[in-house]
Amino acid sequence: MSAKQLLVVDDSTSMRQMVAFALTSGGYQVSEAEDGQAALEIARTRSFDAVVTDVNMPRMDGISLIRELRQLPAYRFTPLLMLTTESGTDKKMEGKAAGATGWLVKPFDPEQLVATVRKVLA
């Protein structure tokens, strides 16, 4: 079986590369996008098994991205995870309302990230 395809979205290059590196090490095929708009454009051209997105981003934030992705037939049931620094519940609930599957709270360690992704893709 070929490796699952993931899309990682973060405007911070270091975070994005770190997340991508962790997931690649976890055996996934990872594509990257630097904001919601770019991610949406990529997601329209091909499908991913899961999307991991930052929340606060220029152009299109993670929550809008999730809302848009859920409108796409191919992403109706796809796990969409948000990476958030907010420990409060507001953002999480906003994300849930937009269709997010779940969230990871920054800081997380790379193993934890891989374990969570593995869980939703099981």
Binding site: Q17, F21, A22, A38, R44, N56, A74, P110, E111, A122
Partner: protein
Amino acid sequence: MDVSRFHAAFFEESREGLDAMEGGLLSLESGGAGADPETINVIFRAAHSIKGGAATFGFTAVTDLTHVLETLLDEVRGGRRVLDRDTIGVLLSSVDVLRGLLAVCEHGGEIDAGALGAARAALDALLAGGKAAAPQPAPAKDAADADAGDWRIAFVPGPQLFLTGNDPLRILRELASHGEMGVECVDGRLPPFSEMDPFEAYLAWNLTLPGSVPRAAIDEAFAWVADECEIDVASVPAASAPEPAPEPAGGPAAAPAPATAAAPVGEIPVPAARRSTDHDNSIRVAVAKVDALINLVGELVITQAMLRQRSEHLDPVANEALLAGLVQLERNTRDLQESVMGVRMLPVDFAFSRFPRMVRDLATRLEKKVVLRTHGEATELDKGVIEKIVDPLVHLVRNAIDHGLESPAERRAAGKDETGTLTLSAAHQGANILIEISDDGRGLDRERILRKAAERGIAVPENPTDAQVWDLVFAPGFSTRDEATDLSGRGVGMDVVKKNITALGGQVEIRSRAGEGTTVAIRLPLTMAIVDGMSVAVGGEVFIVPLGMVVESLLPAPGDVRTIAGEARVLRVRDDYIPLIDLATQYGLPPSARGEDAPPPIAVVVEADGRRLALEVDELLGQQQVVVKNLEANYKRIAGISGATILGDGRVALIVDAGGLAQSAPMPVAA
């Protein structure tokens, strides 16, 4: 998993973030951006990203401070706090402290605990004082009531569960991983097949787990779906007979796992070409790589010149196709060279961007009111030139605020606006870039400059024009130290400014009008990697004299050359005597067979560092663009030589450092 390899990217991006914060705060303060909500968003986002990265990479001190900063910014963003001048001041100092913290994280060293404490205290004071006290997050209730008996869990998924990408099976699987789980499916909600919506969740479950499983683990398994599902977790005495699990409300239930329904239903492909074309795509490349590329192109230019030279004697008719190809090659090479040079070009904003903050701080300290305007920030300039122009610009800006602009009281008295204007502008002019620093202050004082020049024994032309008087400011030793404040008088004078600019192949001049202000204009070549040169023959070798320094070349008549004090030779150029330097002797080449006082075949008059001198050469060969190769990097520094280049025929030619020669030449003698 080692993530330290991402540190460099994090530091770089954090520095950019801090710059963005600083710029944004300053523009909010000056009201330039008005109530543009995007500015505060940009500032917030930068703080937020730094916090997230720092937390992930384990830079706790940075995380803690950005957290407080972010809380404050969030209040501003939400309209719960007004961003007044004091608040901006505190935020700016925090940015400085963060910069320091990041530098310590990156390069090691001691954290400046005093500054950190002060910044933290100031932020805390703001947060405590503001109406919007940070909402105290309710301490997470850690239900530690988990020692009693087994867990009984009634789990009724919300009907829309699948539509967020969640799957009850995943949750069950996760729970089962903690211990042996009893599972009872409740399918009371399942409608007749004909009415079933394949996207809806109908099934529910009653679960049992051993009491040894921590409550937190159960909560975590449901964390993402708790809001949309009915979940009832209860602890029952282990020994007791299995009671019926709490009946799921409505006894309803679940659905076919819609794994099949997740198949793409009709994806509309979008041409890949549409992807992010509107975005400012950029990549980060090490400067060394770009320089290597520039070097290679330099080699190509040389090879191309060599081919052209070799082809010159070919029969144009017999070799028509080859010659046409060579012309094409020349054009392509030139285009390639221009494009590659363009890669090293950066907007002059890299130098300008530091000034808003500096001007603000200086003005505050000197109790002056100053507004800074910048024009042409996008004008591009070679990276090397930009880096070297910063110090002179800093000096000039300091001077303008310290000496040029008056205090608010003086300005009022002079009938001017209390707030002085300082303008930084950049624009292209041919192969040069023109950078101007203007103030609308008191202007230079002609009499005082002349008096000072006399005091310091600086030679002053007779009946000097204004331009000549202003030029005295650049004379070595003119430093106005006796009256300089600690801001602008720090060691370097205007002579150093001029020297730095000249070293870049540039020129500087002052325009000033009493009561109206002063403008310092700096003209710089766009790049230092290529110069227009005049090639000259000396003692059988070829040398390049930078064309920008050449004033004229002339054929001296007999009697124009004099030897003074037995050693130094001077050349009469019209009514002036200027030092005459024999390049052959200077560079240790076989001396010419001519007599001491015989006129050189040709003298090239150059001007550098405000002095003129004549260079004795055998022959003028022509003009050409040459690619400058650094001699120091490849060999060592040689007095009188600023670099080397490779000629079309493959020979190395040295580039004459006219500035260096002018400094070591004997002073011109007043005839």
